[in-house]
Symmetry: C2
Subunit: 249 residues, 2 copies
């Protein structure tokens, strides 16, 4: 493919996701945003609040993909250790950032600017800040790693700022073909032939189950609009033909 491909990973940091207490809502949100700007999300990992685990995952993912987005662990409490782990992964120092201190002194009266809150000003040396319009304490970017909060409303606001400087590749174009109640087992063979003949497109078949019955959708994806349109037509024709043929379920 002559188009530039830009890749990314997400690292979700937090015991609360692994214990089941908190259901992640950031992965899908970030995934959609990256797709929209032409960045291919290739991998996601979720790790606990453990510095060694976070460092290992940071280093594996930042080396392998163009961008790494992290969520969680940048608040004021003792279990917020992401900034330290990032400094460790990059082999740089960490300390109170005068830009953040100034920002927080504006927000908090002197008596309210507690040591816990000062912790949120600890930023790895050399990082750029990611503005947080919701609750002030910023995220940061160092190298190709964007470090964001875990609370969805804060993460979403940071993401808007974090991706301003991300250069996406050609956007992935997608087309949905509704197969409805036509079973995957009826169209799987024909769809395989269509897919194998078209290496420039990626075709997925996605069943869902609502109200006691399956519903299938076929998604065609490509960065090439003409290839997408041709494949979509082939899939639609195949589905139309099989629906006409199909015996009742």
């Amino acid at each position: 493919m002559s188009e530039t491909t830009v890749t990314a990973a997400i690292l979700v940091i937090g015991d609360e996701i692994l214990s089941g207490r908190t259901k992640d809502r950031n992965i899908g949100y970030i995934a959609e945003h990256l797709a929209r700007i032409g960045v291919d999300l290739r991998e996601v990992r979720v790790v606990p609040d453990d510095e060694d685990e976070i460092v290992a995952a940071l280093n594996a993912l930042r080396a392998r993909y163009d961008y790494l987005f992290t969520t969680g662990g940048i608040g004021p409490t003792h279990d917020d250790i992401t900034a330290d782990a990032v400094a460790e992964a990059f082999g740089v120092g960490i300390g109170e950032d005068p830009r953040v201190i100034a920002m927080m002194q504006e927000r908090y009266a002197p008596g309210d600017f507690t040591p816990a809150r000062r912790r949120m000003a600890r930023i790895p040396h050399g990082a750029d800040l990611i503005d947080n319009p919701v609750s002030k304490a910023p995220g940061f970017r160092i190298g190709n790693v964007m470090v964001m909060a875990g609370v969805p409303v804060v993460m979403q606001a940071m993401l808007d700022n974090a991706i301003k400087d991300v250069k996406g590749g050609a956007a992935m174009l997608t087309a949905n073909v509704e197969a409805g109640n036509l079973p995957e087992g009826r169209y799987g063979d024909a769809l395989r032939e269509i897919a194998l003949a078209r290496p420039a497109v990626s075709i997925g078949s996605y069943p869902s189950y609502d109200d006691g019955r399956f519903r299938n959708q076929i998604v065609v994806r490509s960065k090439d609009a003409a290839a997408l349109a041709e494949a979509r037509a082939a899939v639609e024709a195949m589905v139309g033909r099989l629906k006409g043929d199909a015996a009742p379920l």
Copy 2:
């Protein structure tokens, strides 16, 4: 700790999660179930429908944790390649399993038992089947790896069967302390002291944001009921004291 610790990981397989098209609902569900039976979920990965990526993740995770649960990629279409990847990871053959063929011959009339559907009978050699009461085509277990469907209703039914043979360790006990609108920045220092003094408990602080304001909850976790009760009391006393002291937000 004298208690046995049993660990697990989840591997989510599917382009549709990484593209943002489908929002995962399995991670949180499995996480809750594992916590309930005393299994510590330590890591989650999401990878695309790419055999090399799936094999690498399978081998990394099954070597490191006591159990690995996978979701996705076991349907009848060309993008369903999980069973082949599992066989490859374990270095075993794969072929149509006579048990599954028999099961599916009962379900489908001969004309409806398409090659695509026969693909769902391909099971790595030596695997045990995981019953699927929803849509028949089974998952399977090989070694410490449980291979399940991606559609949540099917995955949930398979999980009930998959975990019957899982021996959990001591269950993690948890206590929630509601901090309400008391800001993390006000209690972070006191909570850190409480946490540092109690290595047998794990304490997390979790903000959420609803209707324009933050709400904080502190979660105390331990496998030791007495240690949990003592730590919970310490956290409750601290929160009560600070709420009494607190200036208006």
